[in-house]
Structures are given as structure tokens and as C-alpha cells.
């Protein structure tokens, strides 16, 4: 429940300069941002704020003459703290619009909160739980980024057809985000006839996975690894120590720059590993290069390439500001105009391809299958091997059929 809050008034000053006297007449619009700014996820929260600031800078800090006032708040990645932070933004700081939060279960909790505050508009941050929008959505909660399953789009097919894997074992952290990622991977992989022979759900924050490594089945073609941060580093190190030579398939946060950029012996294990993500640091396109260059110029102390957290917060804030400018900053009658425009919004993402929303206000957007390669000695990068266009939340399936598959869990889906 940590909160960090300061008013970014730079925007209003810039606005005065740019649009002259008209800005003075227009009421400021208050935007609240929730991310995890302290604790173990602080690095992600910092990235998230960079994404918001980059989108703000693009809009010169104002929309149609309305200065945008930014208020920041921090959660500790638990749903209770996210709601607490959002409640303070909405009820104490009086923001009109909220961007965030960072993690999946926080997203679901904030969506529930959104239902009781219909006069505030919420756009998502990085949070990627399916049920933020799939089941019981809130009419004022918009997500212009994918969910954990969408981020896996294309990977199952690629592993089956291109890599020729038939039997795969899964090792992933024991909570909802990895369930969703495995769900996304397996939906494709199992449909093609692949088998996931075993799933090892390991507790978060485990230091020593060597016995998990020891108990992996040996008759597999590849190993799907859905771990993040220190867990991934530990697991991969112990895998290397344990002499496991099976190829790997990586979850979105496993082949992330936070790990590829880390120092350690496990890294050579990564080369050739397929993964999937809505961003790819090796993406070769003008839009992405421009976006990444702006990020680097604006945040010299940032990462080598904008992370998924920065990108998703950027994307959602960008969409929100875009929508605001289309309604000329009109928030009358409970944001009725803004919400209508956001629901119909269609814009090009920096990664190329367009972003628009489905009936549940969930993004339909492109996804990438990537493969890790060594660009120069020691420098690992994801390069794009497939672009999957227009991935929707039901992964191309009939919505009713998709929902009938049930929510992602330890045991769902299953194709041993």
C-alpha cells in the first residue's frame, strides 16, 4: 500500500506555451497512475512510470488545451494495496482517469472497484489477467494491451510446426499469470496434437530449483519455462548445473531483457529459445525504432530497450490521451463521450499493426513469436520470427467455446 505522489505540472506549463491563452480557460484533467514503486517489483513500476511519461510527453502534457495533471500512487503488487492506492487517487486526489495497475490480480481487483465508480474511466497498465475483461467486465475499464494468453499467441504453433516439438514439460511459477501463459501456449500446442506431459508449478521465490530439475521427465522434446526475475535466473543456472540439455520454450517474462541482460552462466542456454511477446527488442520497423529511440533519449538511465511494462503503460496512456483529444477533453455526463470513443478507438501501435477493442473493451492486437540470438558476444536479443496479426482474447476461438474451456489454472488445460 505504498503511495508515491507528486503533481506533474510541467504539462500545464508546456500547454501554456503551445496553445496560448486558450489553455488558461480550460480545466485541468487529473490522471492518476498506479504502479508498484517499492519492493521487489520496483524496477517494473519504474518502467511503468517511464511509459506513462513518454506518452504524456508526446501529447506535450495537455489535451485540447486541457493541462493534464498526473498523480502517482504505488501498490505493493497485492490486490488490497492496488485498491487502496486507486481509492486514494479517486476519492482523495479526485482524479478523473486512472492508468494501471501492474499485476494480474491487482487488475481484477481494480476492475471490481471500477464498477462502483462509473464516473471515472480506467485504462489498464501491464496487468494481464484474462478475467479483467473476459468475465464480468466493467463498462469503464479499458485494456489496450493483451492478456497473458494473448501474449503467447503463435508460440504453440511455432513450437509444434517449426521446431517439431511433440512432448513438452512445463516449469512455471505457481500463480495466475503463469497459468494464463501456459493456457495460451497449450491452447495452440494441444490443438495441433502436442502433449504437455508434466507441469511443475513451483512456489514463487524459491532459491534452489535443483531438485525440480532433477525430477523433470527425460523423454521430452523441450521444456516450457514460465519463470520471471530471480526465479528464472536460479532455475536456469541449476538447469545448466544439472546438465539438462533439452531445448527451452520461454514465457513472455522469461526471455525478457531483464534476464537476457543479466550476467551469468545460464545465458548461453538461451540461444535459439523461442518465446512470444507483444514487444520484441529485435523488431525491425521504423515505428518501433522511433519509439525505442525516444525512450532512450528521454530516460538515459532506463533499460537498453523499453520493457514490456514501459510499453504497456505507454500504450494504454497513449490510447487514453488519444481518446481524450478526440472528445476535446469533454468529460461531461460521466465520461459518456470519452468511453464511447475509447471503445471504438483504432490506432497504430509502435510495433506496427493496429490496436482496437472488442465488445469487452479488450485489445485486439498483434503478437510476436521471437527467438533469442546472440547479436554480438554476450548480447542476447529477441528477434522476430513471426508476427501474428490481430490476436483477440479468445485466441481466434468462438467466445462461447473459449469461455467453456474454463479459467486457466494448474490443471486447465490438460493434454498429457
Amino acid at each position: 500500500m505504498r503511495k508515491y505522489n507528486y503533481k506533474l505540472l510541467v504539462g500545464s506549463l508546456v500547454a501554456l506555451g503551445v496553445s496560448g491563452a486558450s489553455a488558461e480557460d480550460r480545466k485541468p484533467i487529473k490522471v492518476g497512475v498506479v504502479a508498484t514503486l517499492s519492493g521487489a517489483f520496483a524496477a517494473l513500476g519504474q518502467e511503468a512510470m517511464r511509459g506513462v511519461e513518454q506518452a504524456m510527453a508526446e501529447a506535450n502534457g495537455s489535451v485540447s488545451g486541457h493541462p493534464i495533471v498526473l498523480t502517482k500512487a504505488s501498490s505493493d503488487a497485492t490486490p488490497d494495496s492496488a485498491v487502496s492506492a486507486v481509492r486514494k487517487l479517486v476519492e482523495s486526489d479526485g482524479v478523473d482517469l486512472v492508468v494501471g495497475p501492474l499485476s494480474g490480480d491487482e487488475g481484477i481487483a481494480v476492475k471490481e472497484y471500477a464498477k462502483s465508480h462509473p464516473n471515472v474511466t480506467f485504462v489498464n497498465g501491464t496487468s494481464a489477467a484474462q478475467d479483467t475483461t473476459l468475465r464480468n467486465p466493467a463498462s469503464n475499464f479499458f485494456r489496450f494491451s493483451g492478456d497473458g494468453a494473448q501474449w503467447m499467441a503463435g508460440l504453440g504453433r511455432y513450437a509444434f510446426t517449426e521446431k517439431g516439438y511433440r512432448r513438452v514439460a512445463v516449469v512455471a511459477e505457481d500463480y495466475s499469470f503463469p497459468y494464463t501463459q501456459v493456457f495460451g501456449f497449450m491452447t495452440e500446442f494441444c490443438a495441433l496434437g502436442g502433449h504437455v506431459v508434466s507441469k511443475s508449478w513451483v512456489p514463487i521465490g524459491q532459491k534452489d530449483y535443483s531438485s525440480v530439475v532433477a525430477s523433470l521427465p527425460r523423454d521430452i522434446d523441450a521444456l516450457f519455462v514460465g519463470l520471471s526475475g530471480a526465479d528464472a535466473v536460479n532455475f536456469l543456472t541449476q538447469m545448466q548445473q544439472g546438465g539438462i540439455e533439452k531445448p527451452m520454450i520461454a514465457g513472455t517474462f522469461t526471455a525478457d531483457q531483464t534476464i537476457l541482460g543479466a550476467k551469468g552462466r545460464f545465458k548461453k542456454y538461451f540461444i535459439g529459445t523461442p518465446s512470444a511477446s507483444p514487444v520484441a527488442d529485435g523488431l525491425d520497423s521504423k515505428g518501433w525504432d522511433d519509439y525505442a529511440a525516444t525512450y532512450k533519449a528521454k530516460f538515459p538511465d532506463g533499460l537498453g530497450s523499453p520493457s514490456l511494462a514501459a510499453y504497456t503503460y505507454y500504450l494504454n496512456t497513449h490510447a487514453l490521451l488519444d481518446g481524450l483529444s478526440r472528445v476535446d477533453g469533454d468529460l461531461a455526463d460521466g465520461h459518456v463521450k470519452l468511453n464511447a470513443v475509447l471503445a471504438k478507438l483504432n490506432f497504430d501501435a509502435p510495433t506496427g499493426g493496429d490496436v482496437h477493442l472488442d465488445a469487452n473493451r479488450q485489445a485486439i492486437t498483434d503478437n510476436f513469436v521471437t527467438e533469442v540470438y546472440e547479436r554480438s558476444p554476450g548480447l542476447l536479443v529477441n528477434h522476430v520470427v513471426r508476427r501474428i496479426k490481430g490476436v483477440n482474447q479468445t485466441l481466434g476461438m468462438e467466445p462461447a467455446k473459449f469461455i467453456a474451456m474454463g479459467p486457466a489454472s494448474r490443471d486447465n488445460p490438460s493434454c498429457p
Binding site: R2, K3, Y4, Y6, S38, S74, T78, S92, E112, P203
Partner: protein, 343 residues
């Protein structure tokens, strides 16, 4: 005379709390006032145990958590877990379960005191946390159990003024009961256990049994807090009973002044304020450093918490005497500590 003044102060405080909603914005009422009452309740159970069995238990957060989980599981919830009993049946059942759990912890910890007790209860609390995080069939795993909008007689009550009065009523009743207990033979025996277990044992009481009784009474307080917190958040998840929450409860109790349960509400108020607003003032991301420093300052400067500081300006000399008295109480622990551990 002291007693009558205390009574007067208590009535004034109650009166103030009763008219408070008239002056508070909805945000202050919900996020600050209600949360302080709920957290204060859990922390008060910690102080209660300190006073009535001389044990510093870090398992109180998990007792509250067990009450939350039991009610969420047994009662109506959003995740299709449990029998879905009505609130009327589920609330008492949750109480029974968490008080039994509290008694079990008390039994395990009864043979320990001081830091041993702290260490063991911390470990027990953490084991419940891990169990809750890993188990889906009862605890709902990592995501926990969401209960939607709790309703009683068709009314949603977990928000705003009605919920505030519900919390306040429970807090006041608990405080009155604790004050009443203080003067009963049981209360006197428990206080004796709290201040000198050896002497109480020598007087023919069964200290072990009394400690378990104290644990169950404290469990009742913590359970009230846990149930209110469940309604407040409309959800219980493992984070609420994890290590930072456990330490948080301890900080609340110490901040307010651990020697009296009622101080916990003061501690909770300060903690919640700090949680919400300190960073606005400090303008830094180092919230934990700030909280840690304030906590350290209280431990170093005023072992009796903020309540110990507040009595100073009111009547200097008497307060001084009282503080001295309390210091002696603190030293007593020191005397009892090494010799009892050293056997």
C-alpha cells in the same frame, strides 16, 4: 479518581468517534477511519496477549487471516468455494475456527516467552501464509477468495457510514469487555501471568492453561478484526497474512504503545495515515525507510509508543511516574528474561 477520569476520557473518545462521520469525507471515513479500526483490532489482540500472558505473538495476523479465510470459504463468495452458508451461520463458524486455531498456537507457544515466543509465532504465521498461498481447494491459492459485495439482510454494508458504525460498535464492545475482564478474577490471574509467570505458578495457578485461555481471548479480538477486514476489502488473499502484514501489525501495536490494547487504535491511525500521506510529504520512493525509521525512533525513544508520549503534556509529574512505572515493567521483562531462559 483516576478511574473516573479514565472513564470520562473513554466516554469522550466514544462520543468523538460517534460523531466523527459528520466531519469526514467518504475517503477519510473509509480508507482512514474504518481501516484504522480494523487494523487496530488485530494489533490490539497482540497487545492483549502481551498484557495478559506476557507473550509477544506474531501469529495474530494469521489468526485474523484464518477468521477471514474461514468466513470467505464457508460463507457466500465469488469463486465457488465451500458450502456457501449464509452469513448468519458462517460468521459464528469462522469465529469458532479461528479461536480454535488461536488456542492451538497458544498451546504450542505456551512453553515459551519473550523472543522465543516471537520467533515461533512468526514461523507459525508464515507457515499459514505459505499454506494459504499454495492451497487452492480451501484458501483459493495465490489469488485468495473474493467475496463480492457482502450483504446482510439484502443490504451491502461494507462501505461508508453503516460499516463504520459496525466497526465502531465492535471496537467499543470489545474495549468494554477487555476493561471488564481486567477486574475479574480471571483478568487478575491473567495479568499475573503477564507480569510474572513464575510467581503465578507458585501461587498455584496453571500458567499453561491461563496462557491458552489468553490466546483464545486474544484470538476473539483478532478474529473480529479479520472478519471486518474481509468485509472491508471484500477479499482475502495471502498477501494479507504475509511477512509484511505480520510486521505491519507489530509496528501498529508498538507505535501506539504495546502495554495497553486500546493504544493499538492510535497506532493503527498513525500507521494508516503514514501509509497514505507520508510519501506525499516526503516526496520519495523510500516509504519503507521512513516507516522503519519512525518505528526505530519509537522503539528507542519511547518504549511505550506514542501513547506514552501523549500523556506527558497533560499532567507532567503523574505521567512521569507512570512512565517510570512502565519502565520498571519493561525492566522486569529483562530480569525475567535471561534468568528464565538461562534456567
Amino acid at each position: 479518581m483516576m478511574a473516573s477520569r479514565n472513564l470520562g476520557a473513554a466516554i469522550a473518545a466514544c462520543g468523538l468517534m460517534i460523531v466523527l462521520p459528520g466531519f469526514l469525507s467518504p475517503f477519510w471515513l473509509t480508507q482512514i477511519a474504518i481501516q484504522s479500526l480494523c487494523l487496530g483490532m488485530v494489533a490490539a489482540s497482540l497487545s492483549f496477549l502481551m498484557r495478559y500472558s506476557g507473550q509477544l505473538s506474531l501469529a495474530q495476523t494469521s489468526v485474523a487471516g484464518v477468521a477471514s479465510y474461514a468466513l470467505a470459504y464457508l460463507g457466500p463468495n465469488d469463486v465457488n468455494l465451500g458450502p456457501g452458508w449464509s452469513m448468519v451461520a458462517a460468521v459464528p463458524a469462522a469465529f469458532v475456527i479461528s479461536i480454535l486455531y488461536s488456542g492451538a498456537v497458544g498451546t504450542l507457544a505456551a512453553r515459551t516467552r519473550g523472543v522465543n515466543c516471537l520467533m515461533i509465532t512468526l514461523a507459525i504465521g508464515m507457515s499459514v501464509f505459505y499454506l494459504a498461498r499454495q492451497n487452492y481447494s480451501i484458501f483459493g491459492g495465490f489469488r485468495g477468495i473474493s467475496i463480492g459485495h457482502p450483504q446482510l439482510l439484502g443490504l451491502a454494508f461494507n462501505d461508508g457510514i453503516p460499516f463504520y458504525y459496525l466497526c465502531l460498535a465492535i471496537v467499543i464492545v470489545s474495549c468494554v469487555l477487555v476493561a471488564y475482564l481486567e477486574e475479574t478474577p480471571l483478568g487478575l490471574a491473567l495479568r499475573a501471568v503477564g507480569s510474572s509467570p513464575e510467581r503465578t505458578e507458585a501461587d498455584g495457578y496453571s500458567v499453561g492453561v491461563l496462557k491458552v485461555v489468553a490466546a483464545m481471548l486474544a484470538g476473539a479480538l483478532a478474529s473480529c478484526g479479520g472478519i471486518l477486514l474481509l468485509w472491508y476489502h471484500a477479499r482475502i488473499s495471502p498477501g494479507a497474512i504475509g511477512v509484511s502484514s505480520i510486521i505491519g501489525t507489530l509496528i501498529v501495536a508498538v507505535l501506539g504503545g504495546i502495554q495497553r490494547p486500546i493504544n493499538a487504535f492510535l497506532g493503527a491511525f498513525l500507521y494508516v495515515l503514514l501509509d497514505n500521506y507520508a510519501i506525499d510529504l516526503a516526496g520519495s520512493e523510500r516509504f519503507q525507510t521512513l516507516v522503519g525509521s519512525i518505528f526505530l525512533a519509537v522503539v528507542v525513544l519511547s518504549p511505550n509508543g506514542v501513547a506514552g508520549l501523549l500523556v506527558w503534556p497533560r499532567d507532567g509529574t503523574k505521567a512521569l511516574a507512570r512512565v517510570k512505572h512502565c519502565r520498571c515493567a519493561a525492566r522486569k521483562e529483562r530480569i525475567g528474561g535471561p534468568s528464565s531462559i538461562g534456567q
